[in-house]
């Protein structure tokens, strides 16, 4: 089959791009063409705005986009989580309604999983969805919702059966975020950023058929979303609008700025190992044998963590499946960030007491020091990672459960 050949696909898309790409069109016009042609998400099924091509062809196709300077589809970040979940689990009616507008970027999405009372224990969600005969009525609260303030629709996990065991009473919905029963408030963090939201539901409504998968099977659907959250995004990214002239580029820049805003402090959260040697040489700490030991420890941890990830990736390339070993990298990242924060303090000395413009690198150093604590919490705490590693990688027995039986009877936060 010719479709399975990278060269053919590249040839075909090259011709199509030549005919259709033009930086002076509007982003929405361009992405409408992407959706119509299937070149925006070529690995999606043909009936859902794709071309049914294998994932391995995407790099070759992307190369062609880059070669002509074309922008990719809008399916990045929360939108990609929505699309993979809907593609796998949603009804045709839902797919019909939403998938195309994900590619074009007309709709923004967010994820509504975590709750104040269920962080590590996601399946302990207590936001309720009650069917009133014609539609679902939602009450409860979600938290840590990136981009919820820009979202048109949300991926919601809510409880539909309180007598079932906790994983078996959840359902997965698409919810319209632009309605009176949904209130989105920013959640400010200790580093001053407010990159997450809290979302409150007060008799919010969901149409009867906006359920994804079947009733009470929401945990399995959520697993699909979460698996993709931990995986690098797959798609045709094309080029960014950065440093380019043309209407589509300008619009892409605006889009990216909004999308990236919540993630601005993420490099600081990871510890900014890249700054350490330069900073140490600048402050003179580079000549302190005690600080040098700590820098050497940090570089060893950081590089080894990188190499460990490459070992895992190389093992996958030769056929071994990706497993819960990702938790090792996550845990290593926490250790690296903590040590980096320590080293930055040693290097920076008295200036570690300052913040904002008074702090070195226009506040970057201060931001590292007050952001690193999030590394070992966000996306699954270190403690949860150690459970996963102990149980799923090393095969150690589980803790005895205290949350079996009907959800109604399980102790939970009030």
């Amino acid at each position: 089959m010719s479709e399975a050949n990278e060269n053919d696909a590249a040839f075909e898309v090259r011709a199509w791009l030549k005919a259709n790409w033009n930086p002076e069109q509007s982003l929405i016009d361009w992405r409408t063409k992407l959706a119509d042609s299937g070149w925006g998400m070529p690995h999606w099924p043909k009936q859902w705005h794709g071309r049914g091509l294998p994932v391995r062809m995407l790099p070759a196709i992307n190369d062609e986009f880059v070669a002509v300077g074309a922008v990719g589809a809008a399916a990045t970040g929360p939108r990609i989580l929505a699309s993979v979940t809907l593609l796998e689990h949603a009804s045709d009616a839902i797919k019909q309604r939403f998938l195309r507008r994900i590619i074009t970027g007309e709709d923004g999405w967010c994820q509504l999983f975590s709750e104040p009372g269920s962080g590590s224990d996601l399946a302990g969600a207590t936001t309720r969805a009650d069917f009133d005969g014609t539609q679902w009525v939602i009450n409860g609260q979600k938290v840590w919702n990136t981009s919820a303030h820009h979202a048109d629709y949300g991926l919601l996990v809510a409880r539909t059966d309180w007598d079932a065991p906790k994983h078996q009473g959840l359902s997965y919905f698409v919810i319209d975020m632009r309605q009176p029963g949904v209130q989105v408030l920013p959640l400010k963090q200790m580093n001053g950023h407010a990159s997450f939201n809290q979302v409150f539901f007060t008799d919010a409504k969901i149409p009867a058929d906006w359920i994804v998968g079947t009733k009470n099977n929401g945990w399995a659907v959520a697993m699909t979303t979460l698996a993709h959250e931990r995986r690098p995004a797959v798609g045709v990214a094309g080029v960014s609008g950065e440093g380019r002239t043309g209407r589509a580029y300008a619009e892409a820049r605006v889009e990216a700025e909004i999308a990236n805003e919540p993630y601005k402090w993420y490099p600081q959260r990871a510890g900014r190992v890249d700054l350490v040697v330069t900073r140490a040489k600048k402050t003179g700490a580079w000549n302190d044998p005690v600080v040098r030991q700590e820098i050497a420890r940090l570089l060893t941890m950081s590089r080894s963590t990188n190499w460990m990830a490459r070992r895992a990736a190389a093992a996958q390339r030769i056929g071994k499946p990706q497993g819960p070993e990702g938790s090792l990298g996550k845990l290593a990242g926490s250790n690296v960030a903590r040590q980096a924060s320590h080293v930055h303090t040693l290097i920076t000395g008295a200036e570690s007491m300052l913040t904002g413009h008074d702090s070195p690198l226009d506040g970057i150093i201060a931001e590292i020091l007050v952001s690193v604590p999030a590394t070992s919490i966000a996306g699954g705490t270190d403690e949860i990672q150690r459970n996963i590693i102990g149980e799923r990688v090393l095969g150690l027995p589980k803790d005895p459960r205290s949350d079996a039986g009907p959800f109604r009877d399980i102790p939970r936060n009030v």
């Binding site: 975590s114 007491m353 300052l354 904002g356 070992s376 102790p411």
Partner: protein, 376 residues
């Protein structure tokens, strides 16, 4: 050496704790940290008038309560616990300590009563923008003029430097280096030639300032050129006091972590029943108890005039700084995501811990100092 507090000391602690529990809840801390001056004048006056805290360790001859380092450190520990926003450390520990150690008797009689009564809030300016904590970092020049002295130079990290009504400044005579040629001075912050700028501090509950002196008129405190020894003693007392403040803060964090571990439920159990959390709390308690032991011992040594005090001060500072930072990080971790939010109080102590970690030198600096001093 005494290892237990006396009944009187315990009662004193109770009084201070009750007062601060009442007057320095975190709602107040949050209110004050957003103000420029960073303290509440009424609470300050009560600290002075009702509790006599502002002169607790100042001899009665100079208007103080006549107690010693142990009582001072109890006051500091409780302030660290409550995260009190007040110029206590700057005025009563640093500035008063400098005057006590450096000044002549008549100068003490002249300066200390107003500090002891809380009327004057003074600040000590030693460190400079180079951030070096040893005397080698002191570059500000003191020059004798016809009728006194003038100071030229730049001080930084001056705690409560903007709000202080009086500055105690350490400067050196031209051509001197290291410990030689250092003298203490009093400077009127409103005099011409003095420019104060607030620093943006990570710990908003403790204000700092940069102060630039340009032929600023100064009055000599104590003997000219003899500043190194009283400076060293002042910083020792400050390190001990700060160590006690830090263990108070660490205890507050530990308490909040344990309380949260007891009420927070995940997977159908209080998270404190999981060994991952329980054992972390146990290690935190040990950490805090060991740091307290070092901080209390150093205070007692200072009270008894033990010649080992300088080494013990360095040890206490290093131990408390490490324990405070670890406790703060662990308290955030035990709280999970909520512990990283602005509305949760943990970060207020975390930032104090981070700031205190490097103030007067980080634990590495103090460990080296400790070894040099204990060896001697």
């Amino acid at each position: 050496m005494e290892y237990a507090f006396t009944d009187e000391q315990d009662q004193f602690r109770d009084v201070v704790r009750r007062f601060l529990g009442d007057r320095s809840p975190t709602t107040e801390v949050r209110r004050l940290m957003d103000t420029a001056e960073g303290y509440d004048a009424a609470v300050w006056q009560q600290l002075a008038d009702d509790l006599a805290l502002t002169g607790i360790h100042i001899p009665e001859t100079y208007g103080g309560a006549g107690f010693g380092p142990v009582e001072l450190c109890i006051a500091m520990e409780e302030q660290g616990r409550a995260l009190l926003c007040a110029p206590y450390f700057s005025s009563c520990v640093l500035a008063a300590g400098a005057i006590l150690h450096a000044a002549e008797d008549d100068q003490k009689a002249n300066l200390l009563p107003a500090i002891a009564s809380g009327q004057t809030r003074a600040a000590l300016a030693v460190t400079e923008p180079n951030g070096r904590w040893s005397t080698s970092g002191i570059q500000a020049l003191a020059t004798r003029t016809g009728n006194g002295w003038v100071i030229d130079g730049e001080k930084s990290y001056v705690i409560d430097g903007c709000s202080a009504q009086q500055l105690i400044v350490v400067a050196r005579t031209a051509g001197s280096t290291g410990d030689a040629g250092l003298s203490f001075f009093t400077v009127d912050p409103d005099a011409t030639g003095v420019t104060r700028t607030a620093l943006a501090t990570m710990d908003a509950t403790r204000k700092q300032a940069k102060v630039v002196f340009s032929r600023a008129p100064a009055e000599l405190l104590g003997q000219p050129g003899a500043g190194a020894e009283p400076l060293s003693r002042t910083l020792d007392l400050a390190a001990i006091a700060l160590a006690n403040e830090m263990v108070g803060g660490a205890q507050a964090l530990l308490d909040s972590a344990v309380a949260y571990a007891n009420i927070r439920v995940q997977f159908g159990r209080a998270i404190g029943s999981f060994q991952a959390i329980k054992h972390k709390c146990a290690d935190m308690l040990l950490d805090v108890e060991l740091a307290k032991s070092a901080a209390y011992y150093a205070a007692q040594a200072a009270a008894e005039g033990d010649p080992q005090t300088p080494g013990l001060a360095a040890m206490a500072k290093a131990a408390a700084a490490d324990a405070y930072m670890r406790t703060a990080a662990n308290t955030i971790q035990i709280h999970g995501g909520i512990g990283f939010t602005w509305d949760n109080d943990t970060h207020l102590w975390f930032k104090r811990a981070k700031s205190s970690e490097v103030l007067f030198g980080d634990p590495t600096y103090h460990r080296e100092l400790m070894l040099q001093r204990l060896e001697a």
